[in-house]
C-alpha cells in the first residue's frame, strides 16, 4: 500500500537555479528544488538537501532557469485567436459593430470555438500560461479543448440580453451556464463562472438572477466594467448611474466579481471595490490598442484592490503572450502613476500569478509555489543573449523576458511543454487548422 504521507518518494523533482514562488515575502530562492507528487507540490528545499532526502521517479535539472508559478491569464476570449489581426487601428465601437460582431455571426460555431481555443491554448502553454479565465460562446467546446490539452481554465459563460450564436436570450444563456457548471463542478482542471458581458448589454433582471445563482453555486461573476469613458457616459445618460453604481445597487460588487478593464474609476469607486473585495482585471495592451484609456494600477493597489492581469482576446492585442503583457503592465503603471517606483518588479510578477489566482477564487490551489498547491509551474531560460548580464532574476522576468525563453511548463504536475515543445498538442496540426480557418474567413 502506498503511504500518501511519505514525501521522501515523489514523482518529479525539479532543480532550478532560481525558484521564485511569488509569495508575499518576495522570496527568491537560489539553487532550490521543487518536489511534485500526485499533481501537487510537496516540498521546496535547497537542491543539495533534495538530493539527499528525496527519491524521485524523474529529476529535471534547470541550471540556467528561473522556476515560477505558471502565469494566469485572467481575461480573454480564446477562440477569437482565429480573428487575430483581422481588423486593426479601429476604435472599439467600430471594431466591434462593423467587424468583430458580423464575423462572429458568420463564422462562430462549436467547431470554431474548439479549434480557436486549441490555437489559443497552444500559444498560451508555449508562453508559460497554465491557467486562463475565458468568456466566449460555446464554453463547453473551450472546456473540452482545455481538458484535452491539459490547461487549467475558468469559463465564464457569456450572458447577454440579445440572441447570438450561443443562445436566444438571458434565460437560455443562464441555463447553459448552470448546465456547464453541473458538468464540471468536481473538475480540478475546468472551473466555471457567470459571464454577463457588460452593463450595456445585460439588463437588471438577469443581473439579479446571476447574483443569486453565483452565490448559490459559489462561483465568480466575470464582466467587462468601465472599459471606456464612452461606456460610462452613455450609462449615465440612459440610466442616470455610472455602471459600477448600478452594479452596486444590484448587489453584484463582492469578492466574486472580476471587473475587467476598469480604465475609468474614481477614487470613491476604487475604495468601494476594495471595501467589497472585488477584483480588477487589467488588460493593458488591449486598452492601449483600442485607445480605451489607462487603468490606474498603482492607485488601485495602494487602495488595497487586488489587480490581476489579462491579455484580452487576441483580436485586440494581437497575441496571448503573458510575458509581453506583464512587461507592458509594469512599464505602463509607472508612467500612468508618474512614479518610476510604482509597481516594482516582484509586485508585477505577482499580478500575473497569485493575484490572478485570487481573482478566480483559486488562491488556495494555484498562483504561487507553495507546498500543497497544484504544481502549475513555468521554467524560463535566463542565459540568452538578451538576458545577460543578470543582476536580479525578477527584474529580467518582468522587464526583459520573451516568451521564447519559456522552456518547460507543468500543469498539475504534468509536463505540457518540454524544451519549448508542446507535449499535449500537435504543433503542425494546429498550424494547418489555423490556415484552414484563415482561408475560410478571408474568402468572405
Amino acid at each position: 500500500m502506498i503511504n500518501l504521507q511519505d514525501n521522501s518518494r515523489v514523482d518529479t523533482l525539479i532543480e532550478a537555479r532560481w525558484v521564485i514562488p511569488a509569495t508575499a515575502n518576495a522570496a527568491v530562492l537560489e539553487n532550490h528544488a521543487v518536489a511534485i507528487k500526485d499533481k501537487r507540490i510537496t516540498s521546496i528545499l535547497p537542491i543539495d538537501q533534495g538530493r539527499n532526502s528525496i527519491k524521485a521517479d524523474q529529476v529535471i535539472t534547470l541550471a540556467e532557469h528561473a522556476l515560477i508559478p505558471g502565469l494566469i491569464n485572467a481575461h480573454g476570449h480564446a477562440p477569437m485567436s482565429l480573428f487575430r489581426g483581422i481588423a486593426d487601428d479601429l476604435p472599439l465601437k467600430e471594431w466591434l459593430e462593423q467587424h468583430i460582431w458580423p464575423l462572429e455571426t458568420e463564422h462562430v460555431t462549436e467547431e470554431f470555438a474548439y479549434q480557436g481555443a486549441e490555437l489559443a491554448i497552444a500559444e498560451m502553454l508555449l508562453g508559460g500560461t497554465t491557467c486562463f479565465a475565458d468568456m466566449y460562446f460555446f464554453p463547453d467546446a473551450v472546456a473540452r479543448a482545455a481538458s484535452n490539452a491539459h490547461i487549467r481554465v475558468q469559463l465564464a459563460s457569456p450572458i447577454l440580453d440579445f440572441p447570438t450564436v450561443w443562445g436566444q436570450g438571458p434565460e437560455e444563456y443562464i441555463q447553459k451556464a448552470t448546465a456547464l457548471h453541473d458538468v464540471y463542478r468536481n473538475s480540478e482542471l475546468v472551473y466555471t463562472a457567470f459571464g454577463p458581458h457588460a452593463t450595456y448589454t445585460v439588463s437588471d433582471a438577469p443581473l439579479q438572477k446571476i447574483s443569486i445563482l453565483a452565490e448559490e453555486l459559489d462561483i465568480p461573476i466575470h464582466m467587462h466594467i468601465h472599459e471606456t469613458a464612452a461606456e460610462v457616459e452613455e450609462a449615465v445618460a440612459t440610466t442616470g448611474k455610472r455602471p459600477l453604481e448600478r452594479l452596486a445597487d444590484l448587489g453584484l460588487i463582492s469578492p466574486r466579481l472580476l471587473a475587467v478593464h476598469g480604465t475609468q474609476l474614481s477614487a470613491e469607486e476604487m475604495a468601494m471595490l476594495n471595501t467589497m473585495g472585488a477584483h480588477v482585471i487589467h488588460c493593458p495592451e488591449s486598452n492601449l490598442k483600442l485607445a480605451s484609456g489607462f487603468c490606474e494600477v498603482a492607485k488601485l493597489m495602494s487602495q488595497g484592490v487586488n489587480v490581476a492581469l489579462g491579455t484580452d482576446g487576441c483580436a485586440s492585442n494581437n497575441d496571448l503572450d503573458m510575458f509581453s503583457e506583464l512587461r507592458t503592465a509594469a512599464l505602463l503603471a509607472k508612467a500612468v502613476a508618474k512614479d518610476a517606483s510604482a509597481l516594482p518588479a516582484y509586485q508585477a510578477l505577482q499580478m500575473a500569478t497569485i493575484n490572478g489566482a485570487r481573482a478566480l477564487g483559486l488562491e488556495h490551489s494555484i498562483g504561487s509555489i507553495e507546498t500543497g498547491k497544484f504544481a502549475d509551474l513555468t521554467a524560463v531560460r535566463l542565459d540568452t543573449i538578451n538576458a545577460l548580464p543578470l543582476y536580479n532574476p525578477v527584474s529580467h522576468l518582468v522587464y526583459n523576458t520573451r516568451s521564447s525563453q519559456v522552456s518547460h511548463v507543468w500543469v498539475g504536475g504534468r509536463a505540457v511543454v518540454e524544451d519549448g515543445n508542446l507535449l499535449t498538442l500537435e504543433r503542425r496540426a494546429i498550424q494547418e487548422m489555423a490556415r484552414h480557418w484563415q482561408h475560410r474567413i478571408k474568402k468572405d
Copy 2:
C-alpha cells in the same frame, strides 16, 4: 572585365513570401524577390520573373517569411547593456545620480565599451536591427565593435560640461568627436555625429561650437531634449527659457538635429520642429519605465515632424529589442492620442525603418527596400503559432512579432544572421564575457 551595369548576374537573390519595402506607398509585395549585388539592392521583382531573368551566386528561399528593411534603432547607449537590470523601479534623477553615474565612474573603460557594445550588437542583430545610433563614452571602441560585427552605426560622441571617463571638458570632447569623424569620414558602415548630452549638461559656448562644426562636417547633432517635465521646469527656473527655445536661439534646430525623447512639447514647439526640419526620436519603453512622460507621436506626425524609434540604453528598458519597441510605440500612440486609428501599422513600421534613416541623414542609403540602397534586410518567420492565422503581414509585424521570429539578417548584402544564428560574433564567447562583467560589477 566585369560590367557593373549588368544586373542579370547578382551575388544573392532572396525570394520571400512577402517583401514589405516600407516605402511611402505602403506596398506589400507578395512572392517577390530582392536581388543584391556589390552590397546594394539591384532589383525587386516577382519571384517567377527573378528566376527567369537573374543568375545569382546564391538563392535564399524564405517561403513563410516577410522581408523588411533592417530595423534602425535611432537612440541608445550600447555599452550600457552591461548594466542591464542593475537598478530598476527608480525615478530618472535617482537612477542616474545614485546608480548609473557612480557605476560608470567605477567601471567604464575602453574595454567595457568595446565588450558592452559587442553584447548590444549581438542582441540587436539577432532582433533584426541593422543600424543603430549611439551616444556613449569611448565611441571609438563602439566603432570597432560595430565594424568587426558588421553592423551599421552612427556614433554621437558625447559632449558635456564636466569631466568623465571620456574627457576633461567640452574642448576635449569636441576634439575627440572631430578626430573620430576624421577616421570614419569615408566609411560606409560607421558614421559620426555630435552628441551633446542635454541642455542641462552642456552650456551655450560648446553648443554654438558644435552647431558650426556640424555644419562644416555635414553631420548630425544627437541630443536628449525635453525628456521630463522636471527638465523643462528647471531650465525655465535657471535660464528663463524652455530647452528648445534656448536651442533655437543658439541655432541648433535644423534637419541635423535628432531631438531624443520629446515627451514635453507644446503645439508651438511641434510646429517649430516641423518648420525647421528637426527629428524626434521616440523611446517609449524608457519613457514609461522612468515615468518620464508620454511623447505625443500621432500629433507630432500630423504636424509633419519626422519621428523615429529608439530603445534607449538597455539599463532603462531593459533590452534592445526593436520589435518590442515597435509594438509598444504602436499601442501607446493610440492611447496617448485617444484614437485607436492613430499610428496605423504601416506607419509604425516606417517609424522603425525609413524614419530612422531620415533622422540619421542616411535616407538615400538605407531604411527601405529600394533599388540602389544598401541591402540592409531582415527576414521574419510568420508561420509560428503566435502568428497564425495571418490576414495581414504588416499587422503581424507590428502587433504580434517577437524578435525570436527573426531568421536572417543582412547588412550591406552580407549575411550576419542565418537561421537565428549570429555569423559575425560568437554567441558563447559573448555569454561568457557578459558573465565575466556581471561578476566583476556585482562584487562592488
